[in-house]
Chain length 201, copies 2
């Protein structure tokens, strides 16, 4: 097991992963957010290199061919990729890394980083999820229908995650993810070095 | 996996398991403390049925023969046993049960309740553990030596636990165990029922 901790936040589109992740990063500044690359257009307020690396198709393709991404996928007509080298370096250095991934990407990352901790964010209900997706207002009606159809299957895939957190309330959901991070820091497989030091003392 | 949660707090004698457990029960009153039986004499302030069921040798032996204990062992010349029926009933009912066990007992319980969550409480150092054992002043010097010898091996056995918590500070240790309980409540294997309800919604 690598020294660091990789936390993968996932869940259906519109469930509120982004807001949970932002709040987590504020309250646990020791976490490193691993920024993904995408060919989709920035939403209002999104900053290149902070929320995503916004790349055009040809640059994205160049990086795919260079093997820069540990996973990449096309989702709703846009491509998303996870740069692997920085994550591997941080984990080697014992850092704690947080990733935000759609369900498809999280599934691939589980295979690339088997020690990664997968947290699935759930909506309190299917209706609430649709309401939130509409409320965001960043997608056209066609895209909405595609997202709605996908969300049913995505929720069903929660069974191969490590943890499930219902996002009924942002504060409660953030506190649960923080508890998961604290608990994972205490995992015997992660901190046996400490015990060996005590035995040698 | 049973509906409830069984948390087994363990660690070397004198490490402070009892104080952590007492604080936990105050702050999470939904937890049920599964009281063990013992043939040892009560320490000052200990109440029968609250801290232990204090039994004489013949009553303890009667219960051993009746199969009342899921595990029992002799530790430092006294016998300790864990009544099984109430724990099984609570877990069936979806309750959250906390047990405080020496290292030997915890090892047996791991086999009886494979879904149990084992938390090993560690001293910040071996010297600090000895200091705490002496500070308690409830054992004679001979018993102290036996406990000291055992503690080395007990700390080494931490590797087959789920979580390790260093008790350097009571507040910090309690917060870590609370985070572990919160995280375990979010475990996908424990709460998939919730997801199925969302899918049906």
């Amino acid at each position: 097991m690598s020294k660091g901790l990789l936390l993968i936040l996932s869940g259906p589109s519109g469930v509120g992963k982004g807001r949970i992740r932002e709040q987590l990063l504020q309250e646990m500044p020791e976490l490193i957010f691993a920024v993904s690359a995408t060919t989709r257009a920035p939403r209002p307020g999104e900053i290149d290199g902070v929320h995503y690396y916004f790349l055009d198709e040809s640059e994205f393709q160049r990086r795919v061919e260079a093997g820069d991404f540990v996973e990449w996928a096309e989702v709703y007509g846009n491509r998303y990729g996870t740069p692997g080298a920085p994550i591997r370096r941080w984990l080697e250095e014992g850092k704690e890394v947080i990733l935000e991934k759609d369900v498809q990407g999280a599934r691939t990352l589980r295979r690339v980083f088997p020690d990664g901790v997968l947290v699935f964010i759930l909506p309190p209900s299917q209706e609430e999820l649709w309401r939130r997706q509409e409320g965001r207002g960043t997608e056209g009606p066609g895209e909405m229908t595609v997202r709605r159809q996908a969300a049913g299957g995505e929720v069903a895939s929660a069974c191969w995650y490590d943890y499930l957190v219902v996002n009924d309330d942002l504060r409660r959901a953030v506190d649960k993810v923080k508890a998961i991070i604290t608990a994972e820091r205490c995992r015997a497989t992660r901190c046996l070095g400490e015990v060996q030091n005590i035995d040698r003392a």
